[in-house]
Assembly symmetry: C2
Homo-oligomer: 112 residues x 2
DNA sequence: TATGATACATCAAATTAATATGTCTGTCAA
DNA sequence: TTGACAGACATATTAATTTGATGTATCATA
């Protein structure tokens, strides 16, 4: 129930977050959204629209695939699955994040 | 002489980096550019064009002011100065960055 | 049966960064 | 003295991504 920062601050890292949430299990779209909320103690929200853009991008480029679940009750769910290429991208993106963190710490750490 | 990541990874933090470089002294545009390069050991480059956009934005919104130096030799230089409002923005942005860092660590740290 | 929650989806607007250029001034070497 | 290079500022166009606003459909429940 707090501020909930803008995703613009993580811009460029959204895909990485999505991939991370799929590493150990397939998940459906709304589930990913909720996972992120929970995981950050409701402090950070990746908007649904932002996520759906990301899913599309990632699927288009072969980093994830999707399939419909066979729910007999409740709303239909579309599940996402990371591909090998997606895991590779995740590995690289995580390195990029670590580098980003280092750079920004250098730049802000001592207030230049 | 290394990879030099894309600024998209820091997108949203460019202004913060610029403000940081102005906290303790006024600097001219090209100087800020060089400071960032040096400060990151040439590993990270904020493109000139990106910086000039940032200067414009920041000045338009009252976070910095500018004035021409009185160089008698060499090319003219436009100096930038942080305003009180700019310092306040910096303070807030830095908090945002710290929060962002925490969130992303939570999200990637354990690979969900 | 109306409301709210779950779940998927798209579009238009707004931001911001990248690429590509362009101008001007001064230094220095051939 | 001329030409190349570096310092320094600047803009225009394009591309990528996030967000707000909407919209549809299903199910549980009061």
């Amino acid at each position: 129930m707090e501020p909930k920062l803008s995703s613009d601050l993580l811009r460029g890292h959204t895909d990485t977050v999505v991939l991370a949430s799929l590493l150990h299990q397939d998940r459906y779209g709304f589930e990913i959204y909720n996972t992120i909320l929970e995981r950050t103690g409701e402090q950070y929200e990746l908007k649904e629209a932002t996520l759906y853009s990301a899913y599309k991008r990632l699927e288009r480029d072969g980093f994830i695939t999707s399939y419909w679940g066979d729910e007999t009750r409740g709303a239909r769910r579309k599940y996402y699955h990371v591909t090998g290429k997606g895991r590779e991208l995740y590995r690289q993106n995580k390195l990029d994040w670590q580098f980003t963190r280092k750079i920004l710490n250098d730049l802000l750490g001592e207030d230049l």
